[in-house]
Each structure stands twice: as C-alpha cells, then as structure tokens.
C-alpha cells in the first residue's frame, strides 16, 4: 500500500523532469569532506577526517555517544564552521557561502531532528505547509494537495489537525519527516532517528527511510548508534571515534573488519578500546588512600 | 475565527494607546492646539528678575496670553533680558506697555503681568518693553522697612 504510493510519486517526479537536478556523471558524491578538523574548547571533535557521501545512497554515520556525529551534520549544513578542511556540498564549498547562498543551498537539504522540532504553536498541517508557504507562492489548494500527499506518505493524514503536543514520539518524528521532504530536497539527514522509539515506531521509521530513498531518489545520511537498524538499510557506514574515521564500507565489510574498535562497536561489547571505566587512578590505591 | 479575535484585540490595544495619548495631551497637559498656531516675540529688560523662570506665564489682567521663552543677561547694562512668546491674537499692545514681575500668592510662582499704555503704535515682533518693574525681593523689602523704622 505505502510502497505503491511512493512509486506513484516517483513516477510523477520523473514526469516533472526530476525537479531540476543537476547531476553530472563524475559527480558521484553529494558531499565531500576533506581534512576536517574541529574542536570545541580544548576538546578535539574531528581531527583530519575525510568523508564521502555518495549520491542516491543511504550512508550511516555511527560511533559511540559523544563522538561528534551530530556535529558532523551541523558542519555539513553550515550551522557551524570547521577549523580546518573543506566541505563540498553539491560542489559548493559551504564555508565560503554567504548567508543568502547558504539558505538557498539548505533548501536542497532536509534535516530530521532528534526531537522532531515541530513548531509547537501550529497544527501538524500548518507545520508541513510551513516550508511551502515560506518559499513558494503556490495557491492554497495546491499547498493543501502537497501537504496531504506528504502526510499520507508518512501515515498521518488523519492527524493533520492535531497539535504537536498531542502526538506520540514516533508520530512527531513522522510529522517532522513529512515537513522535511515537503520541498523535495536532494538530501535528507536524520539525526538519531531511532533513539527512544518503541519497536513498532522504529520499524516504521526504518521502512520510511528506505522507501523515501528509493522512491524519491534521495540521498540519505543517518546518524545513529542503533547498529542493527542502521546496518539493515545502509549502503555505506562510517564508524567514527575520537575524531577519526575508524572504519568505512558496506555493513558486510565492517562486520568482517578486524580492528578491535570496529569489532567492539559492531558486536556491542561492554569493554574494549572504548573503556568501561571513566579514566581514574588505580582502583586499589584509590580505595586504600581515602583518608590520606 | 481565532485569528479574527486576535487581530481585533490588537487593534483595540493600539486604539487605547492612541486615545490615552490624546487624553494626556488635551486633558492632562491642557495642550490647546489652536493656541500654538501663532505667536510673536517681545523682549523686556528687568533690573532683577528674582526667580522668574522659562515657561512662566505672561498675563494681562490675570488672563494668560503667553509664556516666558528664555532669560539671558545683557552684558552691558547687567540687566536681565526676558524673551516672551505672546499669542498672535493679542497683538495690540502699545509701545508704552508696562511689564512687572509679580508673585502668585505669598510664596507662589513668579509671572509677568502686562499693562497696556495709551500710545498710538503697537509692539511688533521682536519689540521691546522699556517700562518695567522688577521683582520684589524680600530682603530689599525688609531692609527698606527697617530703614524707615529707624528714620522715624
């Protein structure tokens, strides 16, 4: 049912001429990151890291908590600036763009936030209609059609008049996803889409991400640490830790990887290169030397 | 519907603000729009202005017809020059008009009282009143009183 619907949309888009995408043959990567360094205060978040996000594929950025996965998304979208290195999005260097060009480029990118980030003072319908109202001068009837199409695609057509506070966590994210794709972006970034979801909502989201990617020809970037869900839909996985890329490749390649950190992460071991204990002095000394 | 009431209440709010301004202007500060439309300036020099300030009233027979705009000192004669702004409707003061600095009540504010003379010509804009009577200074009065007593 859902699948048929998306195929219909995909056909519709092809009929419209692919909504003006400018894709050259050799330009296979929508995002190219070279020599990225970024630190916040004294903490180094990225140290000379390289990333390639292939066009039309699903790429997952994975790694232990607090390794700057979300920061990478913020760097790619130009919300923050890198200390060193270049970030090319669609062939344009993000740090050299002025405010206006940055906003123009961002219309081609969608981002799904962890909290959904729906505007709390508007209904679901108005939330999804918001980007259309801001960026287009479409008549109200057309906006209505587009909004209902996207809401139907995420299964929330019946929830259009609810306020965001009345939605469950999974529904919030689906409504936010409808808003993210309403302008037909070329790339959608998902910030921890599976965190805190029940198994059903998680399954729905996994399915939606996969369907969107194939039906709309999107590029998807998923930041996550839910290894099974991410691995099941990804074409490519980056594993980052301590500011460096520790492993990259398809899910199958990473499972075979021999490096201890990749193994610890892929198999979910409690101790390993990422230690169980926060750095502390020797346990024995600490216990005995308490009063001295 | 909800949007309508919102817009309506904002409109009423703005209206209340402007009405308040009008009330403050007309009722509280007694701003008379007609009165401000035209005025002319005359000068008078006093030996002692004794507490007269800018914005003091200028009256004729107790009726306010203008106000003091500025007070300065004439460096040659060491007398105080008072600049008065008089309503244009009252432009028939003769050139021999007398000006006196008076006090409202025993300790009240100082103001200028004008008494028109009998001359044929009227004061023009920028004209000057020569017949002036300075403010009564309490110390001088007491001094005079004591002097008279001694003489008796």
């Amino acid at each position: 049912m859902v699948r048929e619907f998306w195929t219909a949309i995909a056909v519709g888009r092809a009929g419209l001429g692919g909504s003006g995408k400018s894709m050259t043959v050799e330009d296979n990567n929508i995002v190219t990151v070279r020599g990225l360094s970024f630190s916040r205060g004294d903490r180094v978040i990225f140290d000379n890291a390289d990333f390639d996000i292939p066009r039309g594929k699903i790429t997952s950025i994975m790694g232990p908590s607090g390794t700057g996965k979300t920061t990478l998304l913020r760097l790619i979208t130009g919300q923050i600036k890198a200390d060193k290195g270049t970030i090319l999005v669609n062939g344009e260097e993000i740090s050299k763009l002025n405010r206006k060009d940055l906003y123009r480029l961002r219309r081609k990118m969608g981002m799904l936030f962890q909290s959904g980030a729906l505007f709390t003072d508007r209904t679901v319908y108005e939330n999804v209609a918001f980007p259309l109202r801001e960026h287009t001068d479409l008549p109200e009837s057309m906006i209505r059609d587009l909004v209902l199409m996207k809401l139907h695609a995420v299964g929330l057509r019946g929830a259009r008049d609810l306020m965001p506070s009345e939605l469950s966590g999974g529904m919030t994210r689906r409504a936010a996803l409808a808003r993210t794709i309403v302008l037909d972006p070329e790339m959608v970034m998902y910030d921890e889409p599976f965190t805190g979801q029940d198994p059903i909502a998680m399954g729905v989201l996994v399915e939606l991400i996969k369907l969107l990617n194939t039906a709309l020809g999107l590029t998807s970037v998923v930041v996550s640490h839910d290894i099974h869900e991410a691995a099941s839909i990804s074409d490519k996985i980056y594993l980052i830790s301590e500011g460096k890329v520790m492993g990259e490749g398809s899910p199958a390649q990473l499972r075979e990887d021999s490096s201890p950190l990749v193994r610890q992460f892929m198999q979910g071991l409690p101790d390993g290169p990422v230690p169980f204990h926060y750095p502390a002095q020797d346990y024995r000394d600490d216990m005995l030397g308490g009063d001295a | 519907m909800r949007k309508k009431t919102l817009e309506l209440s904002v409109g009423l709010f703005m209206l209340a603000g402007f009405i308040s301004l009008a009330v403050l202007a007309l009722n509280v500060s007694g701003l008379n729009l007609a009165q401000e439309k035209g005025s002319y300036t005359i000068y008078a020099s006093f030996e002692n202005i004794g507490g007269l300030t800018a914005r003091s009233k200028v009256t004729v027979a107790g009726v306010t017809i203008g106000r003091v705009v500025n007070i300065s000192l004439d460096k040659d004669s060491f007398s105080g020059i008072v600049e008065m702004s008089i309503n244009k409707d009252y432009n028939t003061f003769t050139t021999d008009t007398a000006a006196a600095i008076l006090t409202a009540g025993l300790l009240g504010e100082k103001y200028i009282g004008l008494v028109s003379g009998a001359d044929e010509e009227f004061l023009q804009d920028g004209g000057r009143i020569d017949d002036t009577q300075s403010a009564l200074v309490l110390e001088d009065l007491i001094g005079q009183f004591l002097f008279n007593k001694v003489n008796e």
Partner: protein, 260 residues
Amino acid sequence: MIAWIRSLGRSGLGTLQVLGRSGTFVVQSLCGVPKLNKALPLLNQQLYAVGVLSLPIIIVSGLFIGMVLSLQGYTILVDYGSEQAVGQMLALSLVRELGPVVTALLFAGRAGSSLTAEIGLMKATEQITSLEMIGVDPLRYIIAPRLLAGFISLPMLTLIFNVVGIGGGYLVAVDWLGVYDGSFWSNMQNATDFKNDVMNGIIKSIAFAFTVSWIAVFQGYDLVPTSEGIGRATTKTVVYSSLAVLGLDFILTAVMFGDF
C-alpha cells in the same frame, strides 16, 4: 592580586564580547524587513502576546498606584491648605517618572521573561535550528517580530498606565476626599506641559522599550538550551532589565529635567 586583576580583565572582555554579539544580533534582526504580507501577521501575533496580554497587570497597577499617590499627596498637601495641587503632583509624578518606569518594570516581569522563556524553549527543542534548515532566517522570523512588538507595546502600555493612574487618582481625590474637581484639573493642566512632560515621558518609555525587549530577546536567543539554562536566562532578563531601566531612567531624567 594579579589573579584578581586577570579575572577582572577576562570578565571585562567577556562582557564586551556579549555586548558586541547582542548588538550585531539586533542589527541583523531588524535589517532587511521581510515581505510585509508575511511579516504583519507575525507582528500581530506578538503584539497580542506581548502587549494585549500585559494589559490587565498594567491597568490594575496603574489604578492602584494612582489611587495611592493621590491619597498620600492629599494627606501631605492638606496641611498646607493646598490640596488642589494633588492633581498637579499626580500628573507630574506619573507622566514624568512612575508611568514609564513602573510600566517598564512590570513589562520586564510579565512580557520580558515570557519572551526569554519562549525563545529559549524554541532553541532547546531545536525549532530555531530547524527554521535555519528550512531556509528561513530565525532572526527575521522569530526575533524581529518580538523585538518590534516590544518596541511598540511598551510606549502604548505606558500611555494607558498614565491615563488609568490619573483616573484612579481623580477617583480618590475628587470623589472620595472631596477636592474640587475644577481646580484638580486646572492645577494639573497649568503644571503639565505637553512637550516637556508628556513627550519626555514617551521618549523615556521608548528607550525602556528598546532596552527591555533587547535584553529579553537576546537572553532567550543566547541561552544554554537546557531547562536549567532557560530558568537562569529568565531570571537574568528580569534582573538586567530592571537595573537597566532604573539606571537609564536616572540618566534620562538628568538630561531632560536637570538644569545644567
């Protein structure tokens, strides 16, 4: 000692940095007015939230302050047999001083704190970042309407406060204490000058409006997006606004009414 000087210098530099950031922030929000048909509904909504919703507290406070002033003034003036001057005292103290200052303080507590909390919550729930990602400048979409609504509302509220206060004072003086209402008004009108008193009061309230809205909106936009950060920023808004209003009031009064 040296450490103390060093920390002083560091906090001085930090303050300067915050000042600079908040300055560019205001300029950026107000520069480049967006399309009028999109901006007006936003402004309307904020005028409602900031202005209309502040009306009850302003009206009630104005009424009581006017009544108290009248009562206090009467008890003092009646000893000198000049109780008619209560109108003059009431109007001058309200229009010049109490109106702008008390309204600004109440505004900081009622509207300023809610502006900070609202913007802070938008930041904490990533709504502001999400606006940026949709390609809408949050400075123009979120901040500018709130700033403008503050600029417009506070002078309006001050005017209403003044009128209600004088009305309350009139009730007490004339209806209750029996001051002759003709001399109540004429004394007031003789003493109050439109340009020097009423206009200067309005200028004061415009200055306060700018200060309070600026502080409130900037604190909301610049806060640490956690529940603790929102609480702290809200407190800061009220404290900084109140201090700024009182300090600014002294300076403005000295410039406007001081004779030197």
